[in-house]
């Protein structure tokens, strides 16, 4: 019983930490340098 309680506690702490990292994490933002330009005529590139 004690073991199960410990496992459940560990799982819930790990889930909470993972959730915080996932939602508060910085993540990937937009490109800050440069970007994509559509090539209208391939010979012009």
């Amino acid at each position: 019983m004690k073991f199960i309680r410990r496992v459940l506690l560990a799982v819930s702490v790990a889930s909470a930490v993972a959730g915080v990292i996932r939602f508060k994490g910085k993540g990937v933002g937009a490109i800050k340098q440069g970007g994509w330009r559509k090539v209208t005529d391939p010979k012009q590139n």
Binding site: Q33, W36, R37, K38, V39, P42, K43, N45
Partner: protein, 326 residues
């Protein structure tokens, strides 16, 4: 007459593109005849005639585009024996290597075999050649693919993450576990940034064949954590009928005017659409004798009408995006 082997996502796009190129006589073969009949019914009309045929009847075509699941080796051999040119969209390494061994058979029968005429491989080789023209010399090519076409393509993508990736590195072929080597790659919008991992892709093999001067070639695919975790077990959830928006990114490094230069070009489009347009444009080139050299070839090779093919592909609605620095 042009034949299409496989009436799935890529086969449908091939038929639509061939119609766009005004090919009036098209025959379709699929192991499930009802799918071929549905495609023929949807696209036939007016002066365009799409007929459903059996496997043997494909031998009366001038060129056959193989769009079904790999392997394509046995059907390609049958067709080449009957002097029918073949365009294969196979994206399986072993199948591509086996197809390349049919070169002598193709020469003997005065037929042409194009190996890997899809999105990746295929479009990737064309984009490398397109970028290489603006360099004095190139030595590195890195390809990244996002998304899948039809269900067979999705299964191949699943397998690609669990096998052995192959890449050319400073004069030797390096094998690394697929799913390793994370690299963040930016694709044009609406795809955006994705983590890419080494994958069991035939691109390095085929690109190296077209560009023997290269010193490093790699191929990567985008994958989520779930893709990587479950790549080593069979697909438990059946793939969707067609993947969503995909992307292909080609990075070329080399020398220009004495300076080291990196150039990136990409496509953001459904993978099945790109594969279909590339395969159809290649078949169109064979029918109009733009490609008339017998033997097995890959796109991007110097003997191919690469610029013409890129123009045709862009004309069919595939937009290229070039990365520009701020």
């Amino acid at each position: 007459m042009i034949g299409i082997g496989g009436a799935g996502v890529v086969g449908s796009r091939v038929a639509e593109t061939l119609r766009l190129f005004s090919h009036q006589q098209i025959c379709v073969y699929d192991t499930e005849q009802i799918i071929a009949q549905r495609l023929a019914g949807r696209l036939s009309g007016g002066e365009y005639q799409i007929s459903v045929v059996d496997r043997n009847a494909m031998k009366s075509a001038k060129v056959v585009v193989l769009c079904g699941p790999s392997p394509h080796f046995s059907i390609a051999k049958e067709l080449l024996d009957a002097s029918v040119s073949v365009v294969s969209t196979s994206d399986d390494i072993a199948d591509c290597l086996n197809l390349l061994t049919l070169s002598q058979l193709a020469i003997e029968n005065k037929a042409t075999l194009i190996v890997g005429a899809a999105s990746s491989p295929g479009m990737s080789g064309l984009l490398v050649r397109h970028l290489a023209e603006s360099f004095d010399s190139i030595d590195e090519v890195h390809v990244a693919l996002h998304g899948t076409g039809g269900p067979a393509c999705a299964r191949q993508h699943h397998r690609a993450l669990s096998g052995q990736s192959i890449g050319w590195h400073d004069g030797e072929w390096l094998r690394r576990p697929a799913g390793s080597g994370r690299e963040l790659c930016w694709f044009p919008e609406p795809v955006g940034a994705y983590d890419c991992y080494r994958g069991e892709l035939p691109d390095p093999l085929l690109i190296k064949r077209a560009f023997p001067e290269l010193e490093r070639v790699t191929g990567r695919v985008t994958a989520t954590r779930r893709d990587r975790v479950f790549s080593r077990v069979p697909m438990m959830i059946p793939p969707q009928a067609e993947g969503g928006m995909g992307g292909l990114r080609v990075e070329v490094r080399g020398m220009k005017s004495g300076a080291r230069l990196v150039d990136v070009i990409a496509v953001a489009e459904r993978v099945g659409q790109v594969a279909g347009v590339v395969a159809a444009s290649t078949a169109h080139a064979i029918v109009t004798n733009k490609i008339d050299k017998p033997g097995a070839h890959v796109l991007g090779d110097k003997s191919m009408p690469n610029s013409w093919l890129v123009s045709q592909i862009c004309g069919a609605g595939i937009n290229l995006h070039s990365f520009v620095r701020a």
